[in-house]
Amino acid sequence: MSAGDLEARGRISERLRALHHEHGPPGETLLEVRGLSKSFGGLRAVNEFSFEVKKGSITALIGPNGAGKTTAFNMVTGVIPPTSGSIRLEGAELAGLRADQICRLGVARTFQNIRLFEDQTVLSNVMVGLHRRLESGLLAALLRTGHARQEEAEARAAAARYLDFVGLLPRVNDCAASLAYGERRRLEIARALASGPRLLLLDEPAAGMNPQETVELMALILRVQAAGITVLLIEHDMKLVMEISDTIFVLDHGEEIARGAPAVVRSDPRVIHAYLGVPD
């Protein structure tokens, strides 16, 4: 990285921090998870994991590979059902609901291995994200009613808005498969945002990104937060985690080993051991 890049990075960080604090401290609990467990056969992937996400905050879930972070994500978003435990979004129980029902309640996510609709355009990808907020069904589409046409025009405008938000508007007509890696991540975030979530889950959003892209991603996440959307993320990039998270939960072998503000977690000996191993 050149000196100029480093300088730019520093400047962004400053601005972002200002944005972050301007938004105010996190308030009440949005997501409350209690005793969440998942067994795959004899393997206990997640064991009695409890955590909560404050409204308006950025919360991070970290831990070594195989700690059960993604499994926890999958349970929160209904991709797999929990073996036991409760997941409450402002009092509404999510455990046992299907993924699309959970999305409709305002939880959107991205995936660790980016899952775009590859052969569709960038615009179509975001339009799919808008699905739950649109109403037109089969008959409206066949008859092309006035309402359906208006809704479609509004949806296109809205999709353009989300693409602009993540900086992909110029690529609106391109095929999703033709995007560069960082752009693919951002498109996935735009698609998730399009569903109008209260809580956005990002599964390793910075994985595979270069430092420049990571800085841009951080800016994007903070802007999402500034839009009033709570963020829960899994990430291995400690710089990103430490810089933007309000609260961090550390998972190892399916169990929580530490929680708290970045500064607290960073110096927790059990976290260091989990990542680096126990010194002999």
């Binding site: 991709v79 999305c103 509004e154």
Partner: protein
């Protein structure tokens, strides 16, 4: 008007080809309506009924292909049993026509259209097929003649009772030798009501098959559709009280519906244009669905079911909708097909029919509306040409057995997989990047309904 001009301006060679094809199809219909039997084109005489029959085969196949495209091309589930939906549609329409026929009113002087001598057929000498005009009575025309010369003579004399008595010493119900135009379907437009019913029946069957298979994808789903089609096929073959078993349901003259003043036969211009209109409707419906919220949901499921669920799409519901829509189109297509077949028997709706529809989609390009139509035109057109070549002496000395068509189909598909796996006309998704002023307009048009901060803070890092 300007919209039309812009639309035309965006035409590529393939679009012009489709427009030309459509014009040709309409022209054939008009010639048929005008009663032109043959056209001398200098190098060859074109027999209009023959060309119209090929066009009908293509049009019907295009309807089937578009129906199947909803499930295979858009939702991404391999359905190998589409013939069962067509069969159900055909059976519903023929049963409906048979059950709602009115009491025959004899018109002795009406030209006899078809002679149906079911029970006595085996006792008769084989008679020549094709069109026959009775000597000295050119108004009596037989398209299909199955009967002894004595019967023809009796008919010529206008005595049907005698005609029946003469057949191989058997006494036949006179009503079976029915004149064209004798019967009318229960009420005007009844055929179209039956078509909708046929579509509905197939749609319900789609739901019945779809519900237990919602969890299946890929090969597993394909195997279930294969098995289900076999079940429908066996039921059609064995439930004689309902479907007539191996003999099928015969749409004899008295069961033909009357549309625009004429009983519906496969060689009438009325039928030809009904099929044209049906295909046009299906194309319009497909285009609208594809560009709608529903179509996007299907495409999302095809691309990535997990991501589709996570994007708030009720995958089960969307799949059921696809099965119902696909079934409906197949049912209506089957109802149209029944008129062309004349006799609806199980053996027409075998695995090969299902495979052929899939082949049309593969050839044309999965998920592409234009591709489905072009695929149907090419495969069916080719099939008819090969059939022509297989007719003894029709084309030089080429004598190919009719089944050889499938060999040629296979060869085409192998070549296609090698050189153009996406099909001839794959769906076009990508567009040109928007111009700067278009971008500005898009930014300005952003809807306040979907609130987010108006614009991104200026990107200070260099854009990647």
């Amino acid at each position: 008007m300007s919209r039309l001009r812009e639309w035309v301006k965006a035409f590529g060679p393939a679009d012009w080809l489709l427009v030309a094809g459509g014009a040709l199809v309409v022209l054939i219909g008009l010639l048929q309506a005008l009663g032109v039997k043959a056209l001398g084109l200098g190098f060859a005489d074109v027999r209009v009924p023959f060309v119209a029959a090929i066009a009908l085969t293509i049009l019907l196949q295009a309807i089937f292909a578009l129906g199947l495209n909803v499930v295979i091309g858009w939702t991404g589930l391999l359905d190998l049993g589409y013939a069962s939906f067509i069969a159900v549609g055909a059976i519903v329409v023929s049963l409906g026509l048979v059950l709602t026929k009115q009491t025959p009113t004899p018109y002795p002087d009406m030209p006899v259209r078809q002679l149906v001598l079911t029970q006595a057929q085996r006792a008769l000498e084989p008679a020549p097929g094709g069109e026959v005009v009775v000597r000295e009575r050119p108004d009596l025309r037989f398209d299909v003649v199955q009967g002894a010369p004595a019967v023809l003579a009796a008919l010529e004399a206008g005595d049907r009772t005698i005609a029946a008595r003469h057949v191989g010493g058997l006494t036949l119900p006179v009503g079976q030798a029915t004149a064209r135009g004798e019967q009318v379907f229960g009420f005007p437009g009844g055929y179209f009501v039956l078509l909708v019913l046929a579509g509905a029946a197939s749609a319900v069957m789609g739901l019945v098959r779809g519900f237990p298979t919602l969890r299946l994808t890929g090969d597993y789903y394909a195997i279930v559709t294969l098995g289900f089609a076999e079940i429908v096929w066996l039921i059609t073959l064995n439930e004689e009280w309902l479907t007539g078993g191996a003999f099928g349901i015969k749409l004899a003259g008295q069961y033909r519906p009357t549309v625009l003043g004429a009983p519906l036969y496969s060689d009438t211009w009325q039928y030809y244009f009904i099929v044209c209109a049906a295909l046009a409707l299906v194309v319009v419906a497909a285009r609208r669905l594809h560009a709608s919220r529903v179509g996007r949901a299907w495409a999302a499921i095809k691309a990535d079911e997990t991501a589709a669920r996570a994007s708030g799409i009720d995958v089960d519901r969307a799949k059921m909708l696809a099965f119902a829509v696909s079934g409906f189109i197949g049912g209506v297509g089957g109802g149209l097909f029944a008129i062309k077949l004349g006799t609806v028997t199980a053996k027409q709706f075998d695995i090969w029919m299902s495979i052929l529809v899939v082949c049309c989609l593969v050839l044309g390009g999965m998920g592409s509306i234009r591709g489905a139509v072009v695929g149907a035109a090419m495969l069916m057109g080719l099939g008819e040409l090969l059939r022509l070549a297989s007719d003894e002496g029709a084309v030089g000395r080429l004598a190919i057995p009719p089944e050889a068509r499938f060999l040629v189909y296979g060869l085409i598909l192998v070549l296609l997989m090698r050189f153009r796996p996406q099909g001839l006309l794959p769906p076009r998704e990508e567009g040109p990047p928007p111009a700067p002023d278009e971008l500005a307009a898009m930014r300005a048009a952003a809807s306040p309904l979907y609130a987010l901060p108006p614009t991104a803070p200026p990107q200070e890092g260099a854009a990647t």
